[in-house]
């Protein structure tokens, strides 16, 4: 397996980079496994990695219908943060943050995690009060949060229009300094290599077409590469959750699939060295290490499996960017794309046993799944190995909606497009 170190980089540079080994094998599926993880994205791969590393379960297959990392793990805007209001979310995402802080060492793979901070801008006194409340809730649970004044924000991001005559004047902001961004492809590849090295079979181009049952129990899957049996079948298919659950005979879920667009501009010299969010709409922006501005906004707002968006949101996102940074008016957009978001009815995820015997479910990441990648896999692996949730994911059940235990951080109710 490919190992990376200063020595191996130098050695391979001197020999023309001809001797690198593939980072993971391309095995054919075996007839049976202890655990099958459906979905070779960030969450499926990290689940397999932690199953092997933390629980010693290595007879595991990860089934991916396309190529590894072709879904949302390569389609997000790479923000990592744990600045939530409700304690269930804060504890879970803070656990994720702690895993992020050691991830490159843990995987021996540079995921380029850069803790450059995440600043939520406030534009009304009421919003600033609300941010102070959220910041206090975070600090109460041991998460860092600072309320920033306009002068501090001006020093941090000089390009922002902080004048009183801006369309939405900035009155302050809530900063989480430990937040940051990471290189999303490296996260997928690092987890894949780490899982593969511990014996996990990563099987690409293998689409699940149905479930095998013994009575009511799920005992495996039928795929485009044949039937594969397993004691436990775990789903980590994000935006395709509805489709895969329908294969298992479950027609309704508390989930809608929506499309979220993201954008990259041409490369610029360093101008934004944090992650900024706009408080009078839905807009966030950061700058990649290559110099491109990476930004996005709201969902398109209607059910979609198309992985592409429509023009009204493009127009809205650009307008919001110019409201904050009038000086970027002539920057050219390089690329835009869309990803499928599995929006739940309360904006929080689902990591649970069931709902069928032999099945385990990880879904409902809305548009915040990337930052959850380490903790999602860590908690899901625990849930699969022990047949019960870890305390970090115990609140994220599927039946919470029907028992009055929703975790609605934004207080939007059961309207998924608003979360």
């Amino acid at each position: 397996m490919a190992e990376y170190s200063a020595f191996s980089l130098l050695k391979n540079a001197l020999t023309g980079n001809k001797d690198w080994k593939p980072a993971w094998r391309k095995p054919d599926p075996k007839a049976s496994y202890d655990v099958i993880v459906i979905g070779g994205g960030g969450h499926g791969l990290s689940t397999a990695y932690y199953l092997a590393k933390e629980h010693g379960i290595t007879n595991v297959a990860v089934l991916e219908k396309g190529w590894l990392g072709s879904g949302n793990v390569g389609r997000n805007t790479t923000a990592v943060r744990s600045n939530y209001l409700l304690p269930q979310n804060t504890r879970f995402y803070e656990h994720s943050m702690k895993l992020w802080e050691n991830l490159s060492h843990d995987l021996n793979y540079n995921v380029m995690f850069s803790q450059r901070g995440c600043l939520n801008l406030a534009h009304t006194p009421g919003q600033l009060d609300d941010y102070a409340r959220r910041g206090n809730a975070m600090r109460h649970l041991g998460v860092d949060a600072d309320l920033m004044s306009v002068d501090q924000i001006k020093r941090l991001v000089p390009a922002l229009d902080i004048s009183g005559s801006a369309r939405f004047p900035i009155l302050g902001g809530l900063m989480q300094r430990r937040a940051g961004s990471a290189r999303h492809d490296a996260v997928a590849w690092g987890y894949a290599r780490g899982a593969d090295r511990r014996g996990v079979d990563i099987i690409e181009n293998c689409e699940v077409t149905g479930f095998l049952r013994d009575g009511g129990r799920i005992t495996g899957v039928s795929t485009t590469r044949g039937e594969i049996r397993a004691k436990k079948v775990a789903l980590a298919v994000a935006g395709s959750t509805g489709r895969v659950m329908q294969l298992a005979g479950i027609s309704h879920m508390p989930i809608e699939s929506h499309v979220l667009q993201a954008f990259v501009s041409e490369s610029l010299k360093p101008i934004i060295d944090t992650i900024l969010t706009f408080g009078m709409g839905h807009f966030y922006i950061s700058q990649s290490d290559k110099g491109g501005l990476v930004y996005g906004g709201d969902l398109d707002g209607y059910n979609s499996y198309a992985q592409r968006g429509s023009l009204p949101i493009v127009d809205e996102v650009m307008s919001e960017m110019l409201a904050l940074f009038p000086g970027l008016a002539r920057v050219r957009m390089l690329r835009s794309w869309g990803g499928l978001c599995d929006m739940t009815m309360d904006g929080s995820p689902i990591i649970t046993t069931g709902p069928l015997p032999g099945m385990y479910l990880n879904c409902g990441w809305c548009y915040g799944g990337f930052k959850a990648t380490p903790a999602s896999g860590w908690c899901f692996a625990h849930t699969i190995a022990k047949d019960e949730p870890h305390e970090f994911n115990a609140p994220f059940t599927l039946d919470r909606f029907y028992r009055g235990l929703v975790i609605d951080d934004k207080g939007q109710g059961a309207t998924p497009r608003l979360h």
């Binding site: 879920m253 809608e256 429509s310």
Partner: protein, 92 residues
């Protein structure tokens, strides 16, 4: 994406407000059937393909519309008034 309002004709999607899955059945207001209420509030069909959904022409005539739209291609198959389900005469 253009939605053809039965009153107003083809209009840009920004004039409309999405109101979600049109397959849900609202229980009678006096109903105490918790399962039925839970299903109405939280459960969605979420198909990859033709989806029966409710839109309001909030930036136009404000009529509520029942739209059948393909969630894979965004192609709109039909648009009718939500109430009564009858197809409007006139423009299409």
């Amino acid at each position: 994406m253009l939605i053809t309002c039965p009153y107003c004709g083809p209009r840009d999607v920004i004039e409309f407000t999405y109101q979600g899955d049109g397959n849900r059945e609202r229980p009678q207001p006096a109903s105490q059937n918790l399962d039925a209420w839970n299903a109405y509030v939280y459960d969605r069909l979420n198909p990859a393909g033709d989806h029966n959904e409710i839109w309001q022409h909030s930036g136009g005539c404000r009529a509520h519309l029942r739209v059948v739209r393909n969630t894979l291609t965004h192609e709109i198959r039909s648009t009718t008034f939500a109430r009564g389900g009858h197809k409007a005469e006139g423009r299409s």
